[in-house]
Symmetry: C2
Amino acid sequence: MSRPQDPQETTKQGMERVCPGESRIDARLRGAGLRPTRQRLALGELLFGSGDRHITAEVLHAEALAAGEQVSLATVYNTLHQFKRAGLLRELAIDGTRAYFDTNTSNHNHFFVEEAGELMDIESNSIRVDGLPEPPEGMKISHIDVVVRLVKA
Amino acid sequence: MSRPQDPQETTKQGMERVCPGESRIDARLRGAGLRPTRQRLALGELLFGSGDRHITAEVLHAEALAAGEQVSLATVYNTLHQFKRAGLLRELAIDGTRAYFDTNTSNHNHFFVEEAGELMDIESNSIRVDGLPEPPEGMKISHIDVVVRLVKA
DNA sequence: GTGTTTGCAAAGTGTTTGCAATTTA
DNA sequence: TAAATTGCAAACACTTTGCAAACAC
């Protein structure tokens, strides 16, 4: 099954040549082996330009349009998954009905406000999970997700 | 907006009159204010008849058909949500692409095998989460989900 | 009988995909 | 120029809904 839209996965890694005048995002994309196209740069700027973010495809698409960048929703989806495969984003299973992407790929956990669909980071090292049982035979733990669900007090 | 298919929510609770010959499920439904219809009894039997289960609508539908019960997929979805509102089930946000329902509504956590889409309970009291930060102003914690994601070792 | 529940088929939602046109290196 | 990327529109998977017929009490 050919995947013509994702050939960069077989592309050898760029060599991180950050030329003067090129943006941080540009370097980041090259470093991940992704061509710094107009759309990826625009989305990357929105995603990584200002601190950690939690975002859905639709919201990101809307932001891009609002910023005057012409990007299709399909490209937003594709780009999010490319970024995710490249390790630039993490996908969060929070809601079931929509995919959230987190620009903070380090180990941390989340508050989730059910009604508002609002996500917040919990400081990385405040939460500690103890008493983990052994994973079943032949399995190992890849990651632990903790979601603290909030409602109005 | 009328919701003709969910009027039982305003129905007064049944009085749990478990007559001899009526099933445990029947009593459970009545206790939740749900009429014990053929479909609900069949689905309830599949869900609660044998220990704790994690199940998706499609799988439950397939099981019902396999058991010779005629139920539509729409009814399975509706029933799962009715059961959930009645507190008989809990919905799990695990995968994003599909809704899992858990017949164990007590506080416990899960192993999730990513590739297989397989879910397992973790003994209720083995895991302990420490260092929870205060929820933001005006919010309170409704529930904490811990998902331990597994991959092949 | 009255109000609840069901099933169907249609509509929705969020997401993915095939492919021709465009862009990048 | 060759290969990667984009955008569109159509296809998707999963879920919900309107409404008339069937059912429970």
